[in-house]
Structures are given as C-alpha cells and as structure tokens.
Symmetry: C2
Subunit: 567 residues, 2 copies
C-alpha cells in the first residue's frame, strides 16, 4: 500500500471515535488569525466545560480528589475543548475517547468506593506527544505499539488519564510541525504563524484549553526541559535511535509553573529508574529546591543573554528580556550580562554529530512505505535539504566529534564558573536568562533552512524540547551542555511597543534576513517568553529560580498597572 | 626519535628520583613464585615502615590526623615498600619522590600550625593508575600533562598525597598489563601469573604493601567499580576517546571495604560535578546506604551466578562461591541461583561497538612514534589480533549496535525484576554474587585471545575495571548494564581443596581450553574473589551489601576455625 493511501486512511478515521455533537459546524473563517477567543464564545462548551478547562492544575487536582468534579466530567470537558482546538489548528493525531472515559470511570469508582485517590494526578486528563507509545495505538505509521511507554505506565499509576495524542514533524527533527500523515499544525494566537516543533501539537493544544499542561514559548505556556535521563523515554518512538551522545529529553508543558513542578515531582516519586535503565537514580531533593546551593535564594545573580552575536533578537524578544531584568532588579536580585561562548563551534559540532548518520536513518525509516523525506518546511517546495540523505561518516570520525563536544562542554563549565568574579554573590551566575529563539513564533515555512534553525539552537530552548516529550535532538539545552531550562511567558507582541528599529550592520546574511522579516504586524499577538537555564541536573533549583523570576514578573507587571491606573 | 629510543630513555630515567638506599640489592631468585612474604623479611624496611604500611586506611587516617605519624613518615614508608614491590613485579611508571615528600611536609606543617587537617584524606599517600594525569608528568608517551586530572585536584583538596603512578597495558584495553614502554607487570602472589589489567600495576602494588588501597580480584584486594559518571574522569588520558556509549569508569582499590567507602564518600563530598560536567550531580545518600530500598537489610536475597553457560569456572572459583553462599545462609539471608541472560549476544554487541572505531583509534595514537600495536599478550608473538586495525563501520551502523545495547539493557532489567517471584522477600534479588572471571589470575599470556577475554566480559568485573581508574572499557559492569560492583577477596587457591574434577562435555572450544589449562599447581596461591553486583547507581547500597557479605564471610571463616581448633 502506498504511503499516500496509508496516510489518507489514517486521517479519514481520525474522528471515528468522537461524538458528533462535540464537532463544531460553524468555525471562524480560514483567514481569522487569532482563534484564542473563539472558544469562550463557542456554544458547544457549557459554562462548566469552560470553568473546568480554565482551572489551574492545582485546582483541578483538588476538585478531583475531593469529588467535586468527576474525572469523567473533567475528561469530557477537556475533550470537547481539544476537539475544537483540533478543528482550528490541526493539532491532534490519535483520539481515543472510549478508552479514556472508561479509565476516568474506573478512577471515579475507586474514589467513590475507597475515598482515596490512586495517586497525585488522580483523574487528570493528560495529552501526549505522538511519539509516546500507548498500547494499541500507532506512534509511527504502520507500527502499532505493543505496550505503553514507561512514562505512560507511570502517569497511569499516578492516576492520570491520557486522552489525546498530538502532532509532530516528520522525523521529529524540525522546528515546525508538519508531516505527510496529519499535515500542518498552526499557532492559535495567530494561525499564520507556526506552533513550533517538534511538539507543536502540544504547544497549541494548551493555550486553546488554557489549562493542565504543556506549553511552548511560541504558544505562551510554561515548559520544562529537564537534563538528560531524568524522565523515562523508554518505549517512546524516535528518530536517530541509537545516537547516544545527544539525547532526546521528555518534559512537561503547563499553564503554570506549579503544573510543571507537580508533574515532575509526581513522576520522580514513582522511581522511573526502576523501569527504564537509562533514567538516573535520583530522587526529588527538597534541599536543592530550597536553593541550598544558591545562598538559599536570598540574593540571586542572573545573567541575561541579550544577543548571541550571531542573530540579534527581534524587538519583542528584547523587550521581554528588559521586562525580566527590571522585575528581577526590583525584587532585589543581581542581573549581569551573559557573554556567549563559542556559539558557532558548538552548533556546528551538534549538526555534524546528527548528520553523521541522520541521512541513512531517515532513509531506512521511510523505505517501507516510500514516504518522501520532507526537505523543507516552506509552504511551497524548494531545493534546500535540511538533513542531506548522505552516507554519513565513520564511527571513528564521530568519536572525534563527540570528543570535541565533551571538551566544549568542559570549557563552557569553566566559562560559567569564571562569572564568579562579576556576580558579587561569591557564587558564579545562578542561572542564565535567555531568549528561546531570536524571534517569537514565525510565519509557516520560515524555519526552512539550517540558517534559520541555527539561531534556534544557539539561543536554545525553542518549543521543541519543551513539551510532553519534546524530542529535543535538534534544539538541545543551552549550547549542548545538557542544561535544564524552564520557559516562562512574559508578554505578547504589542504593535505599538515592538516597533522595528533601524539597523544597517549585520552579523551575517541570516541575521539580516531575520531582521528584514520582522514587522510588528506579521508577529501580531505572538507570545513573548524567556527561559531560565540552570546547570546540568539542577532541576529542583531551576524550578525554584523560575518561581523567583515568575513572581518578580507578576509583581512588576502589577506595579506597572498600579502606577498607570491611579493616573 | 624512534619509539624504541623514547621508551628506553623513559625507562632508564625511571629511578632517577629514588634514593639509592631504598633500592634492594638482594632480591629473590627470578624463579621465586610467591614474593608476598619477601617484604616482611626485608632489612630495608624498619619495624615502623612495616607497621605503617600494614595499617588499615582508618588507622592511618587516625594516626595522621592526631599527629602520631607524620605524612612525611607515612609517605616515606609507603615509598620504600613500593620501590621493593616494583623491583619484584615491575609495577610502577612515574615515581616523583621530591614532589610527594614536599607536599607531605606542607600537610604536616599545616596540621602543626593549625591543629586541623586539610580534609578527610589528610596525609594519606595514594597511588594512581598511569592514565590519571598529574601536571608535569607523562600519561601518554610524549604527552606531558599540562594540568592535573580533576580527580587529582579533588584528592589533593581532600589532603591525599599522590606518590607513584602504576603500569597499564598498551591502549588500556587488555586484561593483562604489558606495554612497550614499561614492560610486563607480574602477580606478587605467583609471579608466573598475570596481575590482570588494565590496572595491573595498582593491583599488585597493593598486596605488596597490604594497605591503603587499590586491589583486584587477581591480587586479593577489595575493589569498587561505581556506575558511569559518578567519579570524575576529566583530564585523564584514555584510548577510544569520544566513544560515548560504553564509558570508562574510575574506582578505588583498597585492603578493606572501609577504604573504598572512605574514598568514595570523600570524593563525592567535594561535589565533582562542579568540576567535570560528565559527573552526575548526586550526593552520598545515607538512606540508600542504610538499605532503605532493600528492606533495611534485615533479610536480603542474593543470587549466585555459578556458571554462565559459556565457560565453567575453575574449581577455586566455585569454592569461593560456595563459601559465600554458606556464609550468607548462616547469616540469615536468602540465596538463590542467578540465571544468566543472553550473555553471548551482549558480549558480541560490546565488542562490535568497540571495534567500530578502535582500529583507527589505535593506529592514530601510535602513528607519531611508530610504536607497533600489541596484538597478543602471549610471551611469544602469535598471529592473533585482538583489535583488528580495520577501517571500522559507519556511524549509522554504530547507532544500530547502540540501540541493540539499550534494548538488551532494558530486557536485562526485566530479567532481574522477574526474580521477585523467587526471592521470598517481596523484592527482586537485592544483589548478584558472581565470579570476576572463570579463573583466578592466569599465567602470563593466557589472556591472549578474544575467546579468553570474552568470559571475562561475560562474568564481568575482572581487575580491569577495579582500580584507581580502571579504564573499564573492555571489562564493563555485569553484562554491560552499568551495574556497580565490589570485589571481595574470599580465599586463596588451595592445592588440596581445589582439585581438578573430571569433565567430558564442554560448552565450546574455549570452555574446553580453559578447563584443560587448570591444575592446582599452576594457580598456586592465587587469590580467590567474588563480586557483589547492584543496580545502576546503587553505589551506597552495594557498599552496604558488600559489608554484609564480607562480615558473613569473616564470621563463617572464624566459625570453621573455631570448630577445627577445639578438635
């Protein structure tokens, strides 16, 4: 059977399981850009549906645990909202209503009979990126999962209710979400913009339900990218499997920092190292969360990366960083400038490590169906091939690249340590504040060349590695150091504030191209985020420091309002 | 300059720094097999030298901290003993008397002036495997270290006194210790036997001073192989650098379990993850040491691997396992049989991963001097090439091997978990007890083929990865699962007890060859050891469980004596 046929068949059955009255017959016109508000006005959602799906994770869990809301009710509300989101942005892949509601019922019955919850995520619906296998469902076309991914087992043991899977790019290696089976996913804040990738489906599903979890900088959510091997990847589908040097990473997205923390602590409490041998045996450390290694958080020093010297960030990104600096200073913390280190060399090493075998990998994976390898995210085809289907290099040559990567990592550690001379705290910089990309969400297809994705790698984060299993291969932690990071939404593009500033000198052609693409109109309503980056395996500390940043921003924004309103 | 010339020059200057009166003019005849007792009778050592060098780590540290013994005294005593050991077995490489004694003096002065120790290892001499770089000394011929390895910095900050470096095999990938620069190192218990490798120099240095640290199963010492990335490897010299899937591991050897624990806790206390980005941020966990995950150690279940089905262990090894079983049962613990899992497949995968680039690596490393690659450990040359100098395989092919390795690891975890049905404790097996190799130390050159080293890999451990930086590439933890393990000496070959038993059926040719090589006479006096193997990153628990095994053996051995003596 041809891949076109398989894909069409798959797509045609996607909504088989969905009750007809959940589907919206009247949708906004195709050229309606911002569809965020459509839901509030949708008659398909009851007042309770809206209340449920706009609750915080903490409130949902409390309401579920006390029996105020049943899991069947909560799951149904989320389904209704997710289906509309899907109609608006094409974010879902697998939808298994019967299975999820049956599970919700079991949980409700358990609570009714015993008065006890199954676990800390009792009754909470959770969406999963497509690569996370659920028994009986497809994660890679033609491959039906024989068992759950380890993470799914753990989430179920915690009481969660997986209810949908979300779209990803082909090979998972693209920073936009598009593939031959499910098509392209768009950004609900502005449907002419991308939702990012590889976890694009997750990223846009969240703002559309404004709840539970799973964001991305492009979609205005909180996202957490832990270090390698803290959360279990076993049983997930992936590309470049066996590439052991730059690892894929799972991480949650949520509408609040508390959601990220709740998720992370809950998963660790189930000792994932007992089920996935790659996971590091390390429990949640409350001392580290209390910033024992960072002067108890009394006076922190953050370093802001304003510009990596390769691509200058767009005006909204700069404004986001300035807002963050101002907020942190007002809260009594130190803020210094971060000096980028060997960005070009690090990125070039990363790309060479992937390219060492990526071509053969993609070719092998697509061979059974003959599905063509996507060579561009552009709306129309062009000639650029992101991962050339070449014959790769020898293992010995790869070892040399890996040695170089290790040495760069050691150098970067020293670079960070040397900031001790500038912080005034007696410690090196506690965390780096950095853009996620030099731009907010971009128009579809604009991430079509290596040169456009390079800055993403340089400036890091990006939604890709932020989502319930961001396959993070292409957008690794800050400069490939395996640094954990948390994305925090700061604001949205404001056409009055984020005006284009004149520039005549550029670092390079890409810098100029990215500069030229910017107009406040194009990026209207796009969320602005920053990321807080910590040292390898400082997950607890980076959650705590992100809380500091988030709270500082909240206070700072309220003060601005307080100042403005009385006038 | 030819490699022969460089090597000869190096060797000729080896003892330049050593005071003449430390060198023994009368040595045992070359055919004297067991030289362990020679030292006691040596007039070169004073009574105090003997007392110092035969003290436990705990006693040494106490005596140093209280000023009973100065570090200069202790270091001198160890030097004198080490030099004799070197004359007997050719175990040392770099000897830096002036530097070490100057450092010892600084420590003594500090203690005298402040009344305080520098750290928990204050004044303790420590020997280092040759690959651990010390600033100004050579770790790879022609390459003078520009700075200390991270571990050396940490040991110095803890108060230790590095005083000698010890011999290793060429490429560090051999299970015997021989190279073109320093020659062959022998086993002091029986000089016709090998001391093992790659840390052969360490292994035999220890029994000859019966103190401080660094053993191997072949030399009758305690040895600790932690999981990947617990102790810092940064700054050490290695072969196969950049090979990121099967990692080298550092670990201490000592004459007591307490020595291993003291070393490990002390190094972790210095937060090595702050200096080497590869090291996992995980502090010593006292709860895990108290066996919180193993029913508080009240009733443990050990599984004994009697025979891996590939090579049957020699009679002394079997007796060592039987003694251990008996001791553990007498101490009230459970003992069941371990069922080996896919040994051939795991070993074959390991070897393929190394071979993927090893040939090119060795060729590149030896090219500058033209030093020939050692192709056999045999005393006379033969044709067998252990690591063929081939062109290796592609990166993509290596990824497939690495994926297979990961899958085997996941399967092995399940295999271990499934023992929960047989233990009677409600938990899976707490630890595995296994031979280190199917034989005790073997005659020189007997580890000359892959087929002889395979069983070593299968049955694991081996001295190679047990020593102050066992480059453990070739003898990884049990079946490549990254399991931590501790080697415990049990007994010595007893020609009356360890008789050869008739066998007519063999698993394969190697099994038959290894069987045929055994005679109690050949292996006279060779130490018998077992290893205790835990789950990945269970360092604390495996130290605690090894204490249980060691104590059970001590009690059991005393009981036997108690029974025999009254008769």
């Amino acid at each position: 059977m041809s891949w076109q046929h398989i894909a069409a068949q798959k797509k045609s059955r996607q909504l088989d399981d969905v009750p007809e009255d959940w589907l919206q017959s009247t949708l906004p016109a195709a050229d309606t850009s911002n569809v965020i508000d459509f839901l509030q006005e949708s008659i398909a959602l009851s007042d309770l549906d809206v209340e449920v799906t706009e609750s915080s994770v903490a409130r949902l869990l409390y309401s579920l645990a006390t029996g105020k809301w049943s899991s069947v009710q909560v799951t149904t509300s989320f389904y209704k909202r997710a289906i509309i989101a899907h109609q608006l942005t094409n974010c879902l892949t697998e939808i298994f209503v019967d299975q999820a509601l049956a599970r919700a019922k079991v949980l409700d019955d358990h609570l009714a009979q015993t008065g006890k919850v199954i676990g800390p995520l009792h009754g909470l619906p959770i969406s999963l990126k497509d690569q996370i296998s659920i028994k009986g469902y497809v994660s890679w076309i033609g491959k039906v999962a024989e068992k759950n991914a380890v993470l799914v087992d753990i989430l179920e043991s915690l009481g969660a209710v997986p209810f949908v899977k979300t779209n990803v790019p082909q090979t998972l290696m693209w920073p936009e979400t598009f593939n031959h089976v499910w098509g392209r996913t768009t950004n609900p804040h502005n449907r002419s913009l991308t939702c990012g990738g590889s976890s694009g489906g997750e990223g846009q599903l969240n703002p559309l339900r404004r709840s539970v979890r799973i964001p991305s900088a492009f979609c205005g959510l909180y996202g957490f990218r832990p270090s390698y091997n803290r959360l279990p990847l076993a049983g997930c589908v992936n590309s470049l499997e066996g590439e052991d040097t730059i690892l894929a990473v799972l991480g949650p997205l949520s509408n609040s920092l508390d959601g990220l923390k709740t998720f992370y602590k809950a998963v660790l409490s189930k000792e994932p190292w007992q089920r996935d041998p790659m996971v590091i045996r390390k429990r949640w450390n409350e001392d580290e969360y209390r910033l024992a290694d960072h002067g108890k958080g009394e006076k922190l020093c953050f370093a802001i990366m304003w510009d990596n010297g390769v691509v200058m960030p767009h005006p909204p990104i700069q404004r986001g960083l300035e807002m963050t600096k101002k907020a942190l200073l007002a809260a009594g913390h130190e803020v210094i400038d971060w000096v980028p280190y060997k960005q070009d060399e690090i990125v070039s090493t990363i790309l060479q490590i992937f390219n060492a075998g990526a071509g053969e990998d993609f070719k092998t994976e697509t061979a059974p169906t003959g599905e063509p390898i996507i060579t561009s995210m552009a709306l129309e085809d062009d000639d650029f091939v992101f991962f050339p289907v070449n014959t790769g290099i020898s293992t010995f040559e790869s070892w040399q690249l890996q040695k170089k990567k290790r040495d760069l990592r050691q150098e970067h550690m020293k670079h960070w340590d040397d900031t001790v001379l500038r912080t005034g705290t007696g410690r090196p910089v506690d965390a780096i504040i950095s853009p996620i990309a030099p731009f907010t969400a971009t128009p579809h297809g604009h991430m079509k060349t290596v040169h456009y994705t390079l800055p993403l790698n340089l400036l890091v984060s990006s939604p890709l590695w932020l989502s319930m299993t961001p396959c993070t291969r292409i957008s690794e932690p800050y400069q490939r150091q395996d640094y954990p990071a948390i994305v925090i939404p700061v604001s949205k593009v404001d056409q009055a504030l984020d005006v284009k500033r004149p520039r005549t000198e550029f670092y390079n052609t890409e810098d100029q191209q990215i500069y030229e693409r910017y107009t406040p109109e194009t990026y209207a309503d796009a969320p602005i985020s920053v990321q807080v980056i910590g040292r390898t395996m400082e997950e607890e500390a980076i959650i705590a420091m992100s809380e500091v940043v988030d709270e500082a921003l909240r206070v700072s924004n309220n003060c601005v309002e307080a100042v403005i309103l009385p006038n």
